[in-house]
């Protein structure tokens, strides 16, 4: 870990300006991802702007009948919120399927969205990695890729987005709200928030330098049965091999997104229209362009079987 300076901002705009105004500055949320990466010198910020005092820690109802989740709301508080549990249960379930109780207490909504990949080569600074060090190559492509992505990849990077919460946000059509140093705000549909690696795997998302997440907005409730099913090698405290977030209506239609398979939560609205025909119909379409490796091709079978379980559960 390199030495860094530290500041606590007191308002969103001040925080955004502080990061935009200083090369190498970064926001610090709960720190559960950033500090680990700093210890390994995968992230080497020269300055940290701690956002814990900027407010944004409430969950409020919107005029449109949805919810606005402040960027600083902890994962624990969000998962436990009665409105979320009632109307957006897939989100609660996704959150509690992640990390551990202690981590969820610390983790913020914004930080969770921005957690970086768990590609093991990304985590070893001796290894070539285009995401960590652009232009050095990708050690994972011909290497140990069991956990990595099967779709949405490029020949520069095959990392997955590892998180759970965002997969649920994707089926809920959430929007990410931000503020920049000049005070300009924007609202980014979750579908457009995370990037595919393409030629620039170092950029995980579309945020600009110094752009602060202020909250996440959920549109009004859509009813249906909410399921989050996460499959992993042990029963808790592990990242997904494959996860399925789904909201399924009584008539068999619905929405579905997959985690653990792509550089972003993977949802294909055209494929999803085939839900009434069953898991195979959805997965064969959603993963038609998959380029799996020998190590991770099982994920496509697993996605199909997991979705079949989810559909069966929703029906019962």
């Amino acid at each position: 870990m390199r030495a860094f300076t530290y500041q606590r901002a007191t308002s969103p705009r001040e925080a955004a300006a502080a990061v935009a105004g200083k090369r190498g500055a970064m926001f610090l949320g709960g720190g559960t991802n950033l500090l680990d990466l700093m210890k390994l010198e995968i992230e080497v910020p020269t300055h940290l702007v701690d956002v814990q005092d900027i407010g944004l820690d409430a969950i409020e109802e919107t005029d449109e009948g949805g919810l606005r989740i402040g960027a600083l709301v902890s994962n624990t508080a969000l998962a436990a919120d009665a409105r979320v549990r009632r109307d957006y249960a897939v989100l609660s379930r996704a959150i509690v399927a992640g990390a551990s109780g202690q981590l969820r207490n610390k983790a913020t909504t914004a930080g969770n969205l921005l957690q970086r990949t768990r590609c093991p080569y990304f985590y070893d600074p001796n290894m070539p990695c285009n995401k960590r060090k652009p232009g050095t190559g990708c050690a994972a492509i011909e290497g140990y890729s069991r956990q990595l992505a099967v779709i949405g990849t490029s020949d520069k990077c095959i990392a997955t987005y590892p998180g759970d919460m965002a997969v649920a946000l994707r089926v809920l059509d959430a929007e990410v709200e931000t503020i920049k140093a000049d005070g300009a705000t924007r609202s980014i549909p979750i579908a457009d928030f995370h990037r595919l690696p393409g030629d620039a795997p170092e950029r995980d998302n579309v945020l600009e330098p110094g752009e602060l997440i202020t909250g996440v907005v959920l549109p009004g409730p859509i009813g249906g049965t909410h399921v989050y099913r996460k499959v992993r090698d042990r029963r808790s405290y592990a990242f997904a091999l494959v996860s399925v977030a789904a909201v399924i209506q009584d008539d068999g239609t619905g929405r579905v997104a997959f985690g653990g398979v792509a550089p972003k939560p993977w949802r294909d609205e055209a494929a999803e229209a085939a839900l009434p025909q069953g898991a195979k119909a959805v997965v064969s379409r959603a993963f038609a362009k998959a380029r799996p490796s020998e190590h991770n091709k099982f994920k496509i079978t697993l996605a199909e079987r997991t979705l079949a379980a989810v559909i069966a559960k929703a029906r019962s």
Binding site: R118, P120, Y144, R234, R235, F298, R305
Partner: protein, 732 residues
Amino acid sequence: MEFTAPAGRNLFDSSKVVGKSTQRIDGPLKTTGTAPYAYERHDVAANQAYGYIVGSAIAKGRITAMDLSEARAAPGVIAIVAAPETEPVGKGMSNNAPLFGGRDIAHYHQAIACVVAETFEQARAAAGLIRTTYARADGRFDLPEAAPQAPLAKTGGGKPDKKTLGDFDAAYAAAPVKFDGRYTTPDETHAMMEPHATIASWEGDKLTLWTSNQMIQWGKESMGKILGIDPENVRLDSPYIGGGFGGKLFIRSDAVLAALAAKAAKRPVKITLQRPLVANNTTHRHATIQRVRIGAQNDGRITAIAHENWSGNLNGEDGENGTLQTPKLYAGANRLTANYIATLDLPEGNAMRAPGEAVGHLALEAAMDELAEKLGMDPIELRIRNEPEMVPGSPDKKFSERNLVRCLREGAERFGWSRRSAKPGTVREGDWLIGMGVAAGYRGGPTQESGARVSLAKDGGLKVETDMTDIGTGSYTIIAQTAAESLGVPLEKVSVVLGDSRFPASSGSGGQWGAASSTAGVYAACVELRRKIGEKLGFAGDDAVFENGRIRAGGKDMALTEAGAISAEGSISFGDFKSGYDVGTYAAHFCEIAVDAYTGETRIRRMLAVCDAGRILNPLSARSQVIGAMVMAAGAALMEELAVDTRFGFFVNHDLAGYEVPVHADIPHQEVVFLDTLDDIVSPLKAKGVGELGICGPGAAVANAIYNATGIRVRDYPLTLDKYLDRLPEPV
């Protein structure tokens, strides 16, 4: 004391303390966080500086340049020890590559530098500023590729590791029922909670290491060799150890670099290995490829059995001996066991909990299950039918004490084995496919010479000092129990101090010999003390009865405190008579598992171990040992694997997020039963170890249960769902 004949009736046969479930005497220290582990011993030496080790970025080759200028100039830096500027250190016990020094790189994350600074953060930051360039060389990293050409491994005596009895080939060819299977097990890391850690301090030419090490005498001798100094000038102190599992049997780079760095910095230096270095800098369990062939009569009687094993190691001499249990478990006149060893440039392989047997059972005990199915026999019945009279691989040897059949029968009864469906894939509860599996377990019950000092204080308090270690196993408590029993004082009167090389040498903790050996050594010291007390008070110590703080001898009855302050040393050694016996421990392991019909996720429901290990010194902590071992076995069966990158030559998933061990939720219910047996060949206490027995067999029981649940046999461990998902029946 020399143990030269089977133990007769002695005081332990009417024991009041030994054999009773006893809470750990060090428990309060552990649960209140006041038992100081190596890295936390802030008070043992003033002015401690922090060391941080840099591991090699390549697996094989040479360091061509190392630029230390930026690191040297970094804030807080006191000294840097760099491999290119240091002669390679000597090799201590089981070091296959020098732990430090020179430009040659033998494996990934081999230590190449150590930065010493005022704070940990400064040392770590400066370590990141060292610029090293390498000339990469080709290495051999792929066991499956190297195995076909691998020569026979060498036994301890240097002989080729192949043993035959009768004529395996002919008997196998003639057998009406044959099984031939190839199994693989991956490299594994010990993943103990406490990484290797040491504080080193020099006073003149005397070196003290406050460290985390299972084998104090080995460590002391090795440190002498490594640094080229007189071992008598080395002191190791290791009273608390946060898990070792064989990973702390030998000196590793934390101790060597703490010593070198303390010399360079001219002050005490503390070092802990960062987690990634535990996998690639220290030792690991070697991967294996195993082939098991068994030929049997139609009634299940085995006529031919062969177990061949391939593994790889840096030294090209010895690896994981997966065949160890095979000459012991089942009858059969025609036999073959062989170990082949490939030279690999991966990090060093070495002992991990029940080296050899832990993974050997994963093959042999799955093979027995497969054979039982071919025979249409119950797998328990097959094992019972092949219960041998004499040691099958050494027919001139007797078993010291063996109750495997009882373990199997009692286990079957308790577990409800009769409810198992013999036909796989036929029991279903909702989305779950349910199965049961069984496996037998064998692990040797060795003993080693072991000594102690026992001192009686004026107030009747008893102190035991020995360099024995407690790696979380419960040594403190069984030693206190033994001393209390031997001198007839309540347990509360006994204090135990462990792990200091200034104390009498003990067996140390390894190979499941610690409990049996160290308690026998303490007993020997207590016998000496009883004699000395007798000399002082005028009676024959050997004939006296020490009970309730009093001594009855020759018609006299006196208080123990009449002896005043008095101390004695003693040690136990074991005579040749043992060589006529195989001293082993046995278990029957059971597992019930549920497999998700959709996703293939496995959920262990229950595990049971019925163990036969002689007198159980402390049933409470012995149970913990077996439970922990069963968890580790379940981990080996279901998830643990160091993934090898055969291009870069290293273990990729080198942290606890990437290397998954079971969590509580994976194993909801475990039960351990100890048979009430005594082994008079092993020691005066008639007790054997259990800490490794518990990992021998449960993994195969898990695998057999998965087969029973699904009808799918996977022979490549760990049994992760990707290996059978496409063979699962269509759900619903």
